[in-house]
């Protein structure tokens, strides 16, 4: 039995993961060897110290807060029928069926009878007329959302947003009175004193983008909010590099849907791909063939194995590390190939692989060479504002948010919104962001002519 195995047994004992046989073996070894007993004592002491932090008391009313947040959220129905029903719920100003507390099957009955609930029988004829009209509109919306691609013309922006006019993110109707009340509130007075917010509110296209359903919630996500309110990230998004990529439908689709954009937000990856020598090494078809092997892919996603592989490629791996490497036959064999060895021994590429464990997966994709060869992507690689933001990390954290990345890949309006300077400036105002996220009347006001009137009144009063 090796010392390493002894230590593994000790750790398994601390974790309560020994089999009966292993426990017996460990007892024997402890009886034999004083140094192992000392090691066991040390480990027990450490476990005691670590475990001295017990479970924590929850913040007050935590479960109520969570359930309130859950009730405000919108699970996206999985089927087109569900999406249509949800849109119908919204248009008719009722709580979506999947958020209501109801008996199983009740939603089906409601869908099939037009029963709107709320304590009274709705005039069926009128309801069916409204529902018929709504379905026509809804199918348009579902089609618009579900099938459009990023290369669609930007002209769809306002039209798309207008189709949502009158609908609210939570599914609970916001009345004209709610909007008016908000426009007369102190919050509204305060936020329009900020020139950035005022400029946004006077820009109808920017307003419409921000009023898109789900946009406020997306912007309020911790990682997204931290990114968008960071000046360096905002500069990068306003910059020619990012806007150029977003305007190029093929580049935008490739980068966002394959998750490559977040890789390009790692400064070390940026450096590796910007440099012609290292770029050519990564684009070598033989390297890609090695990287496509399953074991190599798995190995290079494990930060510890990446370190070992890099050391081994430089001939600096220890015996223990070589044994660990040998457990991954594909990676071990690949490192005996000259090209992969040279690749991993390159410090710039090593830094890139350490920075982004998904990079090896990306490089192995057949489309990688053409994506990196795209003129707009190359411009992004050399964009100074993008590089500065990448060094600050908030950009990569934002792009690494899976829901944000997924939306970015399929939602042209989000891409346009991120490239809109007025939106980017206005959302730097925390009170505006908070109101946008928490006050549905503000979202509704963005698509309302009442906002134009209120702004005109404020201007007139100022004069």
């Amino acid at each position: 039995m090796t010392a390493r195995t002894d230590k593994e047994l000790l750790h398994a004992a601390v974790d309560g993961a020994l089999t009966d046989d292993e426990a017996a073996r460990l007892r024997e070894r402890l009886a034999e060897e004083a140094s192992l007993r000392a090691e066991a004592d040390r480990l027990r002491q450490l476990a005691g110290v670590v475990d001295s932090l017990g479970p924590e008391d929850l913040p007050e009313s935590f479960s109520d807060r969570v359930m309130e947040a859950v009730a405000r959220s919108h699970p996206e129905p999985a089927t087109w029928r569900g999406r249509v029903r949800a849109r119908l719920d919204q248009l008719l100003g009722r709580v979506p069926g999947h958020l209501q507390q109801e008996r199983p099957g009740e939603a089906f009955v409601r869908w099939n009878t037009g029963w709107a609930g709320g304590g009274g029988i709705v005039a069926k004829k009128a309801l069916w007329a409204a529902a018929g009209l709504a379905v026509v509109i809804i199918l348009g919306v579902v089609y618009f959302n579900g099938t459009r691609t990023v290369d669609q013309d930007a002209q769809g922006t306002i039209g798309g947003a207008e189709r949502y006019r009158g609908t609210q993110p939570s599914g609970v109707a916001v009345t004209e009175g709610d909007v008016q009340k908000f426009l007369q509130s102190d919050v509204f007075d305060r936020i329009i004193k900020d020139e950035r917010v005022l400029k946004l509110l006077e820009n109808k296209e920017a307003r419409a983008l921000l009023a898109e359903e789900g946009m406020a919630e997306l912007c309020a996500r911790a990682a997204v909010k931290a990114g968008l309110t960071d000046e360096e990230v905002a500069n990068a998004l306003r910059g020619d590099g990012f806007r150029g990529v977003m305007a190029d439908s093929e580049a935008a689709a490739e980068l966002t849907s394959r998750g490559l954009l977040v890789s390009l937000a790692h400064p070390d990856v940026l450096m590796a791909l910007r440099d012609e020598t290292t770029r050519n090494m990564l684009l070598d078809p033989e390297v890609a063939a090695e990287l496509q092997k399953q074991g190599v892919q798995e190995g290079l996603k494990d930060p510890e194995l990446v370190e070992i592989a890099i050391k081994e490629s430089k001939g600096k791996g220890s015996a223990v590390e070589r044994r660990k490497l040998a457990e991954n036959a594909d990676l071990d064999a690949a490192l005996k190939e000259n090209k992969l060895r040279v690749l991993l021994a390159n410090d710039t590429i090593g830094a890139a692989l350490r920075a982004d464990t998904k990079l090896a997966v990306m490089v192995a994709q057949p489309r990688f060479a053409s994506v990196i060869g795209n003129a707009k992507v190359r411009a992004l690689l050399n964009d100074k504002a993008w590089e500065t933001a990448a060094r600050g990390q908030k950009l990569q954290v934002m792009l690494d948010d899976t829901e944000f990345a997924a939306d970015l890949a399929r939602n042209k309006n989000l891409q346009l919104m991120l490239g809109n300077p007025d939106v980017l400036s206005a959302i730097q105002n925390p009170e505006f962001m908070e109101a946008l996220h928490s006050n549905r009347a503000l979202s509704a006001a963005l698509n309302s002519s009442a906002l134009d009137s209120a702004l005109a009144r404020k201007k007139a009063a100022k004069k």
Partner: protein
């Protein structure tokens, strides 16, 4: 700390939520809230952020319930969402804070510390660990997960979990008990 919860109970709640019964999510929240909050706090070191992370994890889980694979345990899936959320918040907040000079300078840092100081020292030491190691220690010691469950949550092989725990404990031993470099 560990959980002995019937997976069937969880699945029943999930099914009811998917049928539109939002209130059926509450038992899941009440069952896992303390554990999720504790894990988030150990990962992030800040109560407010931990509460945000735990709440966001629950909401995201609710929103994505239809993607939950019934072949897995609900809490493993929930943990995965929480761990991602913590990583996002942690990276958004910047790099790790340095360990307090007083503690780092002690020859045997944990010796003679009062309970509160010890708790603070352990939390600070956890924050000094690389993310992958911290996840392993937190899920094992504060989440009570087995190697197999941790591997499922973190999407890595069990041997990687063991390796990370080993490395993490070496580092914690150095930081908290003055182990020093050992082979």
């Amino acid at each position: 700390m560990s959980f002995e919860v019937g997976a069937d109970d969880d699945l029943d709640c999930v099914e009811r939520c998917l049928r539109g019964e939002t209130a059926a999510f509450r038992p899941l929240v009440e069952r896992y809230q303390r554990l999720l909050f504790t894990v988030a706090l150990r990962m992030l070191g800040d109560r407010e952020q931990a509460a945000d992370a735990a709440q966001t994890a629950f909401v995201r889980a609710y929103l994505k319930l239809q993607t939950f694979d019934r072949g897995h345990k609900f809490f493993s899936w929930l943990y995965r969402i929480l761990v991602n959320e913590c990583l996002n918040l942690r990276r958004a907040a910047g790099r790790f804070e340095p360990l307090g000079a007083t503690l780092a300078a002690r020859e045997d840092p944990a010796a003679g510390l009062e309970q509160q100081e010890l708790r603070e020292a352990v939390q600070a030491a956890l924050l000094r660990l690389p993310s992958a190691q911290r996840e392993a220690v937190v899920l094992r010691h504060y989440g009570g997960l087995s190697y197999h469950e941790m591997a499922e949550v973190l999407h890595v092989p069990e041997k990687t979990i063991k390796s990370r725990l080993y490395s993490a404990r070496q580092r914690l031993g150095e930081l908290l008990l003055g182990w020093g470099e050992r082979p």
